[in-house]
């Protein structure tokens, strides 16, 4: 408390440089040679915490020493067997060797300890950080050094199916919260010397570890620099999830469209790395960020590439239609009903008029009310426990919808339209992109209510113009459609066969742009030729 008070004021004055933390007072201060001082320091810093363990013992039965760690973060067995035991019990090969405090540390590290993650530290701040990360600190009377030994063991959940990006065909592993495990998942899929993982710490108080992954020799170096630059500019006290970072590094903060893709699939990260993108992982978050992102990524799934191209092209097309539906369907309905009823067949128009005859509101208001209640319903379904959620959605959709029609509150066709729209918005694989379209639907409905089809077009033009001027890390958002790139178009609306996609996306500016080996490309072409003309010439 005392220290906090002392640093309270300067913190306010120079907000960037001085985070008000206890530890900062000890920046660059050396570890004292007296054991009591070190123990005092540790107790002062962490003394109030019940999970701190300070264990006094004697190294080789002669030098007084102390061992400190947080009991719940460290692996007790390792501490007992691999640290305490070899330190207390002098091994036979050390008999007769000098083991006085000045050299003792080196001897311990080199000859006694059974732990690979041990380092010698001389600074108090490093000592404290070691304990905070779950390490074990060993301090010995008379030595100006301490040993910081990595004994971190945090309970982690098992590697599970990715909840938000499930596939029928493809790997079943998803990222978990632990950064180390996540990096392992990536590394084992990408056993390449070119994979680079840079790490940095972000978060004044959380000191969260952030890893930047990219492929050297593929990823554009300028891009990597840009990512590092943007990340290093972030000064925030806590990074709870990769979503925090996303909001700091994106190009346009006001846009409803996500300019950074997130994923919990290691295979997707690897595929993106190989295309020349950069992945950002944060310790504690099961979602990795992938930059730069273009719009087409939001309706593509991993599965597109694992199944046969013809089928997946058709499915991707369906997804695109759903995407467009979820954006414009209600507004087109409103403008046809309220402005241009001559567009629909006469029989249908007369029937629709009949359906709407008892409804007291204009179509715009009706659609807005039903849309809003749909959003409420959707939000409620997410919040509720799973067991109740299912029941609620049935009640909401069937009972309320039916009742609204019966009560003359909404026309049956409106309910159909809204239902289709809602289902359409679920077909978009990326939740954040679907959210953007869900949101933009409302202004479009309002525009439709004012100007009819004309208004819808104005709204769509505004959205398209916004998309066209948007950039993600310098890459135009609608690439490869605009600016046009023929190679990229093969994977835009349809998913071309893998043999067509011989190059990495050029808009990412990869160093090495060849995906498919020349030999394979030739063979595949040859195969096509062969099938075309039965028995072609050899070679």
């Amino acid at each position: 408390m005392r220290i906090l008070k002392g640093y309270g004021k300067p913190k306010q004055k120079k907000a960037v440089a001085a985070p008000g933390q206890k530890l900062d007072a000890y920046e660059n201060k050396p570890v004292s040679t007296r054991l009591d001082d070190t123990v005092d320091f540790i107790e002062m810093l962490f003394g109030g915490n019940s999970d701190l363990i300070i264990r006094h013992f004697r190294v080789f039965g002669e030098h007084p020493a102390v061992l400190a760690y947080f009991s719940n973060m460290a692996d007790q067995i390792t501490i007992n067997v691999d640290i305490l035991k070899p330190l207390m019990y002098k091994p036979s090969h050390l008999e007769g060797k000098p083991a006085e405090p000045p050299q003792l540390m080196e001897v311990l590290l080199n000859d006694a300890l059974y732990n690979s993650e041990a380092v010698r530290e001389t600074e108090l701040a490093k000592l404290a950080n070691g304990i905070l990360r779950g390490g074990t600190v060993v301090a010995i009377e008379g030595s100006g050094e301490v040993l910081v030994i990595g004994t971190r063991k945090i309970e982690k959940r098992a590697i599970d199916q990715p909840a938000t990006e499930q596939v029928i065909r493809g790997p079943r592993e998803g990222l978990i919260e632990q950064l180390g495990t996540n990096i392992a998942l990536i590394r084992y899929r990408l056993q390449s010397a070119d994979l680079r993982i840079h790490s940095m710490e972000i978060g004044r108080r959380t000191n969260s570890k952030v890893a930047i992954c990219f492929m050297e020799g593929i990823t554009n170096p300028e891009l990597v620099e840009e990512v590092k630059k943007r990340l290093s500019k972030i000064d925030i006290d806590a990074v709870m999830d990769s979503g925090y970072l996303e909001q700091f590094i994106e190009d346009n903060h006001i846009s409803p469209f996500p300019q950074v893709q997130y994923t919990e699939r290691p295979d997707k990260i690897v595929a993106n790395l190989l295309e020349g993108r950069v992945a950002i992982l944060v310790d504690g978050s099961p979602l990795a960020l992938v930059v730069p992102t273009v719009f087409s990524q939001f309706y593509q799934t991993v599965e597109d590439y694992t199944e046969r191209f013809l089928l997946m092209s058709a499915i991707r097309l369906a997804r695109l239609i759903a995407l467009v539906f979820s954006l414009v369907f209600p507004s087109i309905y409103v403008s046809i009903i309220s402005f241009n009823p001559e567009l629909i067949p006469t029989e249908f128009a007369v029937a629709v008029a009949g359906g709407r005859a008892g409804v007291p509101f204009p179509a715009v208001i009706e659609v807005l009310i039903i849309e809003t209640s749909m959003e409420v319903l959707r939000e409620a379904t997410i919040r509720l426990p799973q067991q109740v959620g299912g029941a609620l959605s049935i009640v909401g959709v069937l009972v309320v919808g039916q009742a609204a029609v019966a009560a003359g509150f909404a026309s049956p066709i409106t309910v159909v339209i809204i239902a289709l729209t809602t289902i359409g918005s679920f077909a978009t694989p990326a939740y954040n992109a679907a959210l953007a379209l869900r949101l933009l639907r409302f202004p479009l409905i309002v525009m439709a209510g004012v100007f009819g089809l004309y208004g819808v077009m104005i709204g769509l033009i505004l959205i398209a113009n916004h998309l066209l001027s948007l950039k993600s890390f310098g890459v135009p958002y609608l690439s490869p459609l605009v600016p046009g790139n023929f190679q990229g178009m093969k994977d835009l609306i349809v998913r071309g066969p893998l043999s067509w996609m011989t190059r990495r996306p050029s808009f990412l500016g990869p160093v090495d742009d060849r995906k498919l080996g020349e030999q394979t490309e030739k063979t595949l072409e040859g195969n096509l030729m062969d099938t075309a003309q039965e028995n072609g010439k050899e070679g």
Partner: protein, 403 residues
Amino acid sequence: MFKTVSLALVLSMAVPLLTGCWDRLELEERAVVLGVSIDVAGEEAEAEESEVSHVEGSLPLPDHAMVRVGVQIALPGRIPLGPGESGGGKGDSSQTVWVIDVVGHSIDDAFMNLQQQVSSKLFFGHLRVIVISEALARRGMDNVNDYFRRNAEVRRMAWMIVSKGKALDLMKAAPKLERVPTLYLMSTLDEGVKLGKFPEDYIGIYWSHSSKKGQEGFLPYVQMKKEQNVEVSGLAYFRSDKMVGATQPIEIAGYLGLKGINPAGYRSFINVANNSFVSAATQRRSSIKLEIRNGVPHFRIEVALEVNIEEKIKQEAHITPEVIRLIQQKQEKNSTLFYENMLKKTQEKGSDIFGFGERVRAKKPGYWNSEIKTKEAWQRMYKDVTFDIVVAVNVRRIGAKAL
């Protein structure tokens, strides 16, 4: 900062624009006009009219007599949504639409009078059929054409038809086949086109034809029968904007044949070998060749018909190649005569519904520019035009019976 301010300015400029919903008019708030009938109104009509568009006697009224306009308005709610749940039969068509009629000095005047009586705004976007009484058509269609052409709501794919007798009766008719009477009228004609009984003649096509210098417009000529059903009983042909005559129903086939319009759908009796056969045409082809003879256009029209034998009245006389040859010859002769008569009829009235004049304009522009040039000149010239008609008939099939 400047950016936010300017953005706010733009938005505040945009807000007042968004506050008006000038044109929003819900579908159920519109009086959806499905059909319109236009009759000549009698002497007594003026008394019936209230002073809606003008104070009585205050303006130099159009010199022609008044019109009686009837409309068929769809009643929302009466026509069930979807494929009729509780037995679509109960909806008597007199209950699904509302027929009102008013009088006026012009078409627009009449609609103004009508609007005064109907609460919802009249909406012509779904106007499918316009029925004109023969009397009005003979008096002149300029006013009608102008009004509907100027109104952007009216579709060019609507039908305009001329009725024998009062047009309003057709609006009031309630045929049993469709829920909405007008749609029945429309489908009668649409199906006629598909069956090869009638040429495509939407209002837009009629307008185009009557605009052309070397062609006259024509409209379907219909007649109400006793079961409130409608018979297409010929072509009402025009000279400029005035109807000058109507053909017999069979003569529609003449028009279709001369123009070579497919599919073919008419039958004809052929008496050969002491027997009567009915042949059904399936395909028509025609080619028209133009030359100038003695300063007058001369047309050589070759019509080729493909027919199937559909019926034989008596059992004897098997269908042999010889009989088929006879049938072909006989029908060729009959048809030639038939076509010639038909052409003569239109020539008498100076109504070139076939567009022979357009052919002259297109193929012999020099002759056209020096001799004809105007629509009126062609109408006079058309009477003197000469024709050569050659018909070739081919019997292709005789049905499932071997003899």
